[in-house]
């Protein structure tokens, strides 16, 4: 079955979406990410969408669900690399991606994940063994 690969990098999961996703592929990704968070005890998930030339409400909803599910599993999600034309279109479509954190590129996304995980640990919340 066709799948979007999920790479483990340190304590993070990295997903680069490089194909024009049909709906089933998007649903599979959602399940795979949550499985991987539990299996690898990842604290952060980065989704690189720089190759996506379109985000419609379905894909937007999938990004939102991944972020919410990850949060419940104590992992932070950041979506990186959105193309400007995609951002303009999303706003006109009416999708604000509430609850989804974004960064301009992979480096900035990594910084964001690191700092928010450090902050969480400093607050003593959700301490893991």
């Amino acid at each position: 079955m066709e799948r979007i690969p999920i790479l483990k990098m340190g304590g993070f999961l990295l997903i680069t979406i490089q194909v024009d996703m049909h709906d089933r592929l998007a649903m599979t990704l959602q399940n795979d990410v949550t499985d991987m968070i539990v299996k690898t005890r990842a604290r952060g998930v980065m989704i690189d969408i720089s190759m996506l030339d379109m985000v419609d409400s379905f894909i937007g909803r999938m990004l939102g669900s991944i972020a919410s599910m990850s949060r419940i599993l104590d992992a932070e999600t950041v979506v990186v690399g959105m193309q400007p034309a995609v951002a303009i279109t999303l706003v006109e479509l009416g999708l604000s991606l509430t609850g989804v954190r974004t960064a301009l590129n992979v480096d900035k996304g990594m910084e964001l994940l690191r700092s928010s995980i450090e902050r969480k640990e400093a607050n003593g919340a959700f301490v893991r063994d």
Binding site: D20, M21, H22, D23, R24, D53, M54, V55, D56, S57, F58, G60, R61, Q83, P84, A85, V86, I88, T89, E92, L93, G94, L95
Partner: protein, 137 residues
């Protein structure tokens, strides 16, 4: 290149929606749409294509034309299904209204992404939606 020929594609699965997006993108590039205009028409098409799968009896057709008006060229897409139809079009166009599992942005969102939007529907007979986006100034 003959521009007045109508092309069509059957929509039966989400793979067909992906094919349709690539097809619309190729035509938009072909007539010189800007990247933003390409993205808008492709996104609108994606919303309406998925609508057919979810609400249009799961099957329909999309027709593509390249009309000209006042020396401007555009892309016109017509989505037709023989599904249950829409009882209250006003309501269906409101953001957040959904009878499926989605966000209810499909129709209203697609309308905001194009220059012209026409919808005709009869309960029990089906729905036809025509959208047009003109090439920017």
């Amino acid at each position: 290149m003959p521009l007045s020929v109508t092309e069509s594609l059957a929509l039966r699965s989400s793979e067909d929606v992906v094919r349709m997006r690539q097809w619309v993108r190729a035509r938009a590039v072909g007539i010189g749409f800007s990247l933003v205009d390409q993205t808008k028409i492709v996104t609108a098409a994606s919303e309406l294509g998925r609508n057919i799968l979810e609400h249009g009896g799961g099957e329909g057709h999309v027709y593509l034309d390249l009309p000209t008006h006042n020396s401007k060229i555009g892309i016109q897409l017509t989505f037709e299904d023989k599904g249950p139809g829409i009882a209250d079009i006003e309501q269906a166009l409101k953001d957040g209204f959904t009878t499926g599992g989605g966000l209810g942005l499909g129709l209203g969102g697609a309308r905001r992404l194009v220059n012209q939007f026409e919808i005709a529907s009869r309960p029990g007979e089906g729905t036809r939606i025509t959208i047009t986006r003109w090439k920017g100034p």
